[in-house]
Assembly symmetry: C2
Homo-oligomer: 151 residues x 2
DNA sequence: CAAAAAGTCTACTTTTACAATAGACTTTAT
DNA sequence: ATAAAGTCTATTGTAAAAGTAGACTTTTTG
């Protein structure tokens, strides 16, 4: 039940972008290199990840000098579920309960398969969290902890 | 976020054992071969899985003619969480929120890491389901569906 | 006691998915 | 024109998962 490194790095990068304040009233454009340094991620690997996210429409980018990445939408409109699915695929622990990519698993009778019922619950519980948490929610929560710690 | 085949097969086998009625007032001892046929699982692979479950104290076995496997405890006292962890390891999607096998992940500051907070929630949601669902619960639910379908 | 029917144990092989690296290419600002 | 950024695709390395093999032990029963 593991989040892949791609997923981990991508989510961290997106959260970082969401938490980066706008510079002098313009978009907060951040370079791969900076993200990779701040988050301790191989720049080359991160490159791929951000590209995937861009092609999925979650990031925009600007080429050339002064370029970099920025969120395609306000942080409140990007959910962790979107990011996760883009990088790691379906949330479901087993294909036969996947909304995105259903496939029968090998059980004798799907309709009465107890494992399937439970894994359906698990899928829903995970999707509930991921699809109802936006980048803005995450940043808010981080800021709350910062305040609590008096920083 | 995938359940492995080991996990899937092991859980299915345990559910099957829990749902097998006792024969003439004695324990329902079932052979590997029968489980593998009923559940469509390679007998050799299943062998390993059941052995692991046995060594974890969740199954007992009887060697020789008329032998086989049976649950080490009543179905109400075995949770899916125990089975899952035995076969697939920690429930947590990321090591830094694991109760079983904590390890720092690479984020700059764990205490204020937004991803960690959310993944902690995910871990808890999954563990909540798996640790509070016993084999007896699963069997009950299967029977309810059977009744619903009029079989 | 011998043979057959079960589980036990460990090692090996194959396959697949993940993680990471490399390098040539495109776009944009100055 | 050049340098600084992102783009794209191919390749490699590695580890975990899935599956296979085979020799061994225990138990029953004829």
């Amino acid at each position: 039940m593991r989040l892949s490194k791609r997923g981990e790095y991508g989510l961290r990068a997106m959260i970082m972008l969401a938490g980066t304040p706008e510079q002098d009233a313009s978009l907060p454009v951040v370079q791969i290199k900076e993200i990779s340094q701040r988050e301790q991620i191989s720049a080359k690997f991160l490159e791929q990840i951000l590209l995937t996210l861009k092609n999925a429409g979650l990031l925009h980018s600007k080429m050339g000098i002064g370029g970099g990445y920025y969120l395609a939408k306000p942080p409140g409109e990007i959910t962790l579920g979107q990011i996760f699915r883009t990088l790691d695929g379906p949330v479901a622990p087993i294909k036969c309960v996947s909304q995105m990519a259903y496939e029968p698993c090998g059980c004798p009778d799907e309709q009465t398969c107890g494992l399937r019922m439970v894994m359906g619950d698990v899928r829903n519980a995970i999707a509930d969290i991921l699809d109802n948490t936006s980048l803005a929610d995450v940043v808010k929560r981080q800021e709350a902890v910062h305040k609590e710690l008096g920083r």
